[in-house]
Symmetry: C2
Subunit: 206 residues, 2 copies
DNA sequence: ACGACTTTGTGAAGGGAGGCACAAAGTTGC
DNA sequence: GCAACTTTGTGCCTCCCTTCACAAAGTCGT
């Protein structure tokens, strides 16, 4: 379920405010979904609500965290130390949510050895060892478009089956590999589309 | 249509290889969709294909670009000059696709005046002027979660109706404002979910 | 202890997006 | 100029996701 992270985030925020119990209505509002959908989603996890009262915030949060597999730390490696890769390496958001960046990788020998955000850049040949010895399970692709497929192939060959792709290309992977895509320019283009529709609508009926 | 940017990207790549004509089958493969869906999507734009031959790459690319409103440059402002905001300011991907970052903004007076990637950081109070005089239409929110709603409110108050949100919160906006969200940690959590399912499956049937 | 009230969990209905399959249209070879 | 082949455009069908609505269940006041 792609919405569980949103619920977890809303619950964490509520817990931070010292709220112990929440109804499906309130939580749905905070997470930006309908209450019926929220209840149906949560019912898949089990019956953790109490009729007439609502859900226990702490309890539900830990159930969702368990379902998402967030009870453990997930080691992450970032491939590609260009502009984007450096930014991601410096970004604190990973560690805050249980994702530990254990390696920065680059194909380019001139970059290997450099230190970014206190972490040395390592060659791609280190990948198998990272998977084997450090339990690396998630790879982040921050290369340019051209290098993305090759980087992905190397990740998959090393045994990684979860990939987060920032490059604006469609990656070809075996069926058992999961690829999630984050694409700035696609999002911007969708916004441009709406912006234009707005402009056209205004021109017609000002 | 959220898939048009993907088609455009595939077409641009084909044009770069000097390919002049493409069938729906080939283009669909390159864009990672089914050929039937591609044809249906393109038929909404009009009949730009030739039966028995396929689509003219250049022609189709410019039609899609026009539909997306990419014939003009879209001015963009980035709000929030923390880690993420600085990274975005330095990121070249915007300009490459017709999105011009015309302003960097921050609420914090200690950051205002600083220069990042050759562009000065300006106060939030400059917003109305940017919208009025420079045609600013798209706002990018790169603040921390806490400041996101306030930043969004200021963007909307200034007249911006297209927002790209990097903060992991659900923004409340009027109906005529479009918000697109890019959320790293949600994507990572979804990957963790799959990673855990994989681990569980392996433990059951090794 | 009982009744009224609140809230969950879920069956049924509704809608929309994607896929299938085929007719229409255009091209190419002879 | 005609026939065979290729490829688009689209009507129809199916399936999944969302929403509606209500019964079951549990709480709180009296």
């Amino acid at each position: 379920m792609a919405r569980l992270p949103g619920y977890l985030r809303a619950l964490t925020a509520l817990a931070g405010e010292g709220i112990a119990s929440v109804s499906s209505e309130e939580l749905a509002l905070a997470a930006g979904v309908s209450s019926a959908m929220l209840r149906k989603d949560l019912s898949y996890l089990g019956s953790y609500g109490v009729r007439g009262v609502g859900y226990d915030v702490e309890r539900l949060a830990s159930e969702i965290a368990a379902a998402l597999g967030l009870t453990q730390d997930w080691p992450v490696a970032i491939v590609g130390m260009g502009n984007l890769g450096r930014a991601l390496a410096a970004y604190r958001g990973f560690a805050e949510r249980g994702f530990r960046v254990i390696a920065l990788l680059d194909h380019d020998e001139r970059v290997v050895g450099e230190e970014i955000a206190g972490c040395p850049v390592r060659p791609m040949s280190d990948l198998p060892g990272l998977v084997e010895r450090d339990g690396l399970a998630i790879g982040v692709i921050a290369t340019a478009s051209e290098g993305a497929q090759e980087a992905c192939d190397e990740l998959v060959a090393a045994g990684i089956r979860s990939v987060l792709n920032f490059a604006p290309v469609v990656l070809a992977v075996p069926d058992d590999v999961v690829v999630r895509k984050v694409d700035l320019s696609t999002e911007l283009q969708i916004l441009a589309f709406h912006g234009q529709r707005l402009a056209v609508a205004e021109a017609v009926a000002p």
